[in-house]
């Protein structure tokens, strides 16, 4: 069974053809980062305009690379949220139009479910149940995945997402956007223990908070009179700030996941989302798993960042349950992973 996945939830236009939910035939991601870099982040209106320009060439390329045409498809799976509403609309409208004209079913996939199931595109994947930590520029959440389509939210961020903290600190340090890869690179050469930035463990819940950490970095820079001009590149202090900040973020993410393992008696973890591309987070989570004998599953970097293969893979499981969306499907900017069917349209064409 061939499913075309489409993801336009944020700033990347992506289309992918996946066979039987496991085998990637193509996974095209057209990044917009060159457009948004100068603004220090995504500009929603610019993003949706760019999606409109890119959606047809990206889908064409995905089909071509897979060596198939629209008539070979069993269904189209499209991300209907959460994300930027204008961006989501482009993908959803496109998918609806093709499904209508080709008489094939439409499947609505939650972006977070895509991230959560992205690990199934790798040869090594966990059995259910498992714990899923999703960390990105817009999300930080911990779920229990009981089965395909059955997810329980344990916690999420109360303020800033982990990736957002990276972007804000990067901006404070006079560095570029996106902040994650830049800080990750600097942190490798710095001392993670140089500055003791606070870690918000919030011990009575599985929620996260990264807003206070960002403020602590600001206060440190203010105290040391470092806010006026950028620190010299590769200066020891800059490297140490980057390393100490990164240690504070990754410590909390790893430790809280470890708590969830103990509390829920689930000894399998998946790590995904854009921040899962962070080398230190990957290393720390894998090391924790090794030490505690917990299975840690981290998809390759190209499947951690936004992509449509994960949407197609998730769509496969909706298809098996005949869980199709209606052509009245509307995207939703805020959509929880445990949301009911009402958000997914109801007038099925089948």
């Amino acid at each position: 069974m061939l499913i075309l996945g489409i993801d336009t939830s944020c700033d990347d236009t992506s289309a992918s053809v996946v066979e039987d939910g496991r085998k990637i035939l193509s996974n095209i991601v057209s990044s917009q980062s060159d457009i948004h870099t100068k603004y220090g982040g995504i500009v929603p209106e610019l993003a949706s305009r760019r999606h409109i320009e890119m959606i047809i060439p990206v889908v064409d390329e995905a089909l071509q690379q897979a060596g198939i045409s629209f008539s070979d498809l069993s269904a189209i799976a499209v991300c209907n949220g959460p994300g930027l509403i204008g961006s989501l609309l482009t993908g959803c409208s496109f998918a609806k139009a093709v499904c209508y004209s080709r008489h094939i079913p439409l499947i609505a996939v939650n972006h977070l479910e895509g991230h959560l199931l992205s690990v199934f595109l790798e040869s090594s994947c966990p059995e259910f149940p498992f714990l899923s930590l999703i960390v990105s520029g817009g999300h930080t959440s911990l779920h229990v995945a009981e089965d395909f389509g059955r997810y329980v939210e344990l916690g999420k961020t109360r303020d800033d997402a982990a990736g957002e903290a990276y972007d804000k600190v990067s901006k404070l340090l006079g560095l570029g956007y996106p902040g994650g890869p830049i800080i990750d690179r600097l942190a490798e050469k710095g001392d993670p223990k140089a500055i003791d930035f606070p870690r918000a463990y919030l011990p009575d819940s599985f929620d996260f908070s990264f807003s206070g950490l960002k403020t602590a970095v600001l206060q440190f820079l203010r105290k040391e009179n470092l806010l006026e001009g950028p620190l010299p590149p590769n200066s020891k202090l800059l490297l140490d700030i980057a390393a100490s900040f990164q240690a504070a973020v990754t410590d909390v993410l790893v430790r809280k996941t470890e708590w969830a393992v103990k509390k829920k008696w689930i000894r399998r973890i998946t790590l995904s989302g854009g921040v899962a591309a962070n080398s230190s987070l990957r290393k720390k989570m894998l090391a924790m798993g090794k030490e505690k004998e917990i299975g840690v599953f981290v998809p390759s970097v190209s499947l951690c960042t936004d992509n449509a293969a994960m949407i197609a893979a998730a769509g496969h499981h909706h298809f098996l349950k005949k869980d199709f969306a209606g052509l009245d499907l509307n995207p939703t900017a805020y959509l929880s992973l445990t949301a009911g069917k009402k958000e997914r349209g109801n007038k099925s064409i089948l």
Partner: protein, 146 residues
Amino acid sequence: MKAISNSAEATEEIGFKIGRKLKTGNIVRLYGDLGAGKTTMVKGIARALGIDRKDITSASFTIITEYPGNPPFFHIDLYRTSGGVDLDSTGIWDCIGAQSISVIEWADHAEGELPEDSLKVTISDLGNDVRDITIEGKNEKDWDHL
């Protein structure tokens, strides 16, 4: 009117009291440095409008977050618009106005362009967790008894 907050909880509570007085069509301009407690205050405002405080997170990434309702509530964050983003391309003009209630963080990034008859709330960090909160607006007397 002026108030002093000694904690994040107190800032949120002041937000709640502001939120209770908001009516459809109201716009709140929120001023304050990074880490001053703007999003914390928005949590309080939103709670007064019947939105779960946990659902209010930073809007820096999305610039605009809509909470459907009657009227809809818009949480707007212009933090990133200082980099030269044209205010028009954020889409905020489709959100703020007579049909909604909106709160705009980093309103100084749109100084002079936002409606002046809106409410202005400034949070200043005085150090040691103390925040000075100033509320100014067209009908300033309305805000003397929160």
